[in-house]
């Protein structure tokens, strides 16, 4: 209960921060709020696999980046008037791009998940990392979409009926997407599927004994998790007008894990807190000292050693079933 209050308060604070920044005419801070919302959404996606399903994916940057490339490539072809792979025309309409990002993520997450879920423990961590590295190197070597240099999105993609080029409107879109992903995971985790998923994490044999095959449950959760993260990636590319291999890098996968854990693993609203803390640290510590990563490392270490529930554990109390 307290956890939900803390989480909703964090969401409200994010909304108010963006509105206050808009009132003061500070576009930079509106974009910062959009960044928090988008990174939080990527974390919500990962949290479904990692927190609820116990699948420690060290390769979610792959899906984040694929979403980003979906936005970048669609915009590139729309700008150019050429066809993707000679088949599909480009588009600059966000709803279609989002759908494409989700579809691409599903297409990749199905085989990646199906192979990776044959393994468990450290092997799962490492094979997800390996798949992400494959996609990373593929992006670097594929020259038609910028290769190593990445792909700029010259004009932000549009949303029908809205002026997405306006910072506050774009924040609204990102915030709405974050709320939608939170609502989706909330529905999922409360459903029969969610119960099976957490049982697959807690006691696989017991789940199988009660007549539910764990593998399809895990795979479905992995794919949905990838799809949410890819949607966030598409928004991220549009926020910065750029997509590049750095969105696919293993450091990005590590950061996504960090965000989920900072907020509190398996806490539905944890990633919102985690993303807010991460972006604040990055922005304000990074402004104070160029060695901000040292401080970030020390904070992370402190969280792992001494605050195991993450920020949500500190503020919102123990989990309901602890």
């Amino acid at each position: 209960m307290r956890e939900t209050v803390v989480g909703l308060a964090a969401l409200a604070a994010l909304l108010l921060a963006a509105l206050a920044a808009a009132g003061a005419g500070e576009v930079y801070y509106i974009n910062l709020a959009s960044k928090v919302a988008i990174i939080a959404m990527a974390g919500v996606g990962l949290n479904l696999a990692l927190g609820f399903g116990g699948m420690v994916s060290f390769g979610h940057a792959a899906f984040f980046g694929l979403g980003g490339y979906a936005a970048g490539v669609a915009a590139f072809h729309a700008f150019d008037g050429t066809l993707f792979l000679g088949l599909l025309p480009g588009t600059d309409a966000m709803p279609i791009i989002w759908l494409a990002a989700v579809l691409v993520a599903v297409l990749f997450a199905l085989p990646i998940g199906a192979i990776s879920l044959r393994t468990s423990g450290v092997y799962f961590i490492m094979i997800t990392l390996a798949f992400a590295q494959m996609i990373y190197f593929f992006a670097i070597s594929w020259p038609s979409y910028g290769g190593e240099d990445g792909l700029p999105i010259y004009i932000r993609n549009s949303f029908p009926g809205l002026d997405a080029g306006d910072a506050l409107t774009f924040f609204g879109l990102a915030f709405a997407a974050l709320l939608a992903s939170l609502a989706l995971t909330d529905r999922l985790t409360r459903s029969r599927f969610g119960a099976a998923l957490s049982m697959a994490h807690l006691n696989e044999v017991r789940l199988a004994t009660s007549g539910v095959e764990p593998f399809p449950i895990r795979l479905t959760a992995f794919v949905i998790s990838a799809a949410i993260t890819a949607w966030a990636g598409a928004l991220f590319a549009d926020l910065y007008g750029f997509v590049g291999p750095s969105m696919l890098s293993w450091q990005r996968s590590g950061e996504l894990i960090v965000i989920v854990i900072l907020g509190g693993v398996g806490r539905p609203l944890g990633p919102v807190l985690g993303a807010a803390l991460f972006v604040l640290l990055e922005t304000f510590l990074g402004g104070l000292t160029q060695h901000w990563q040292l401080v970030l490392g020390l904070i992370l270490l402190g969280v792992v050693l001494f605050a195991r529930g993450g920020l949500m554990g500190l503020l919102g109390g123990k989990m309901a079933h602890d």
Binding site: S141, I257, Q293, L294, I299, L301, L305
Partner: protein, 306 residues
């Protein structure tokens, strides 16, 4: 491909593979004995290379640098084990990944503060800086052959250490049943620190060796770390033999792939595009091999506890 080039590439592959083995053996030992997944292993490699380059640069003596580099990595490893890692043995892999990810950030920034962001250079001692003739007419640098030799010595030394010494016996016992070993009066905490320092020293050694053929800088550890993880996952985590086979496989596949894939694509594409696509696919190749092996054998080629 001409024979001389092929021999040269195979030697390069062996050199990469054996360097990876020196790196991966420490990683797999620590995982096998303590069950710890240590992302900061690459930072120990970086520390070994940086300290070696710094000491060798200021004394003009590579061997002094090498000793200092290995010593620094082992000391730092022991300190980290005592202060942080021993609290993580009982925790899940997720906590271990996060804590050692945090250590990477700390060590990288720390190294940047101490040694600066500019790369350091490490010169080989006089005796190793020449080259020798290969059959077919090409010449091959002695320094790289020395790395191959060191890798082989480490492999033999480790297998003797594990199979024939008292410490090795304790390490094997610690892998199979730590409670029982502790109950029999072995100081398990000290054993863990020793194993970790040994792994760290090997990472430092790998860094000192590689520092002679590439620039030494902050961030050099992570690409090697990921390759070392690929190696131990292919070989079966915890198995030294698996790490050896995995390392040679990765070294050879990567090196041969990098040279032959662009040529292969050159048959059907224009040269510039073939080089880019070929070298890109070559970078993916070892990950493809790893995924294929894990798809068939989910616990690697030589599962340690099977």
């Amino acid at each position: 491909m001409p024979t001389a080039l092929l021999i040269e590439q195979v030697l390069n592959g062996l050199q990469l593979g054996l360097t990876l083995f020196v790196m991966a053996s420490g990683l797999t030992l620590v995982f096998g004995v303590m069950g710890l997944i240590n992302l900061a292993h690459g930072s120990l490699y970086m520390v070994g290379a940086l300290v070696t380059a710094y000491v060798a640069g200021s004394t003009g003596n590579y061997w002094a640098g090498l000793l200092a580099g290995i010593g620094a990595a082992a000391t730092l490893g022991a300190l980290v084990e005592l202060s942080v890692l021993r609290r993580l043995y009982g925790r899940g892999h997720l906590d271990q990944v996060l804590a050692t990810f945090a250590l990477i950030l700390i060590f990288s920034e720390g190294a940047r503060m101490i040694f600066g962001a500019a790369p350091l250079f490490l010169n080989l001692p006089e005796a190793l800086s020449g080259s020798i003739a290969l059959p077919g007419g090409a010449r091959y640098p002695v320094g790289r052959l020395a790395i191959i030799a060191v890798g082989i010595v480490v492999a033999i030394g480790l297998s003797i250490l594990i199979a024939r010494t008292r410490l090795g016996m304790r390490i094997r016992a610690g892998e199979s049943d730590r409670e029982m070993v502790a109950a029999l009066g072995v100081d398990i905490a000290t054993l863990y620190t020793v194993v970790f320092a040994l792994g760290a020293a090997l990472a430092g050694l790998a860094g000192s060796l590689v520092g002679t053929i590439q620039s030494v800088e902050v961030g050099m550890g992570e690409p090697v770390l990921i390759l070392a993880f690929v190696v131990i996952v292919i070989g079966g985590i915890g198995s030294i033999r698996g790490a050896f086979v995995g390392a040679l496989l990765v070294g050879l596949v990567d090196t041969i792939g990098r040279i032959s894939l662009p040529e292969l694509f050159g048959l059907v594409m224009e040269p510039a595009a073939a080089t880019r696509v070929g070298s890109g696919l070559a970078s993916m190749l070892i990950y493809l091999v790893m995924a294929a092996i894990l798809a068939v054998r989910p616990r690697g080629l030589f599962p340690a506890d099977a």
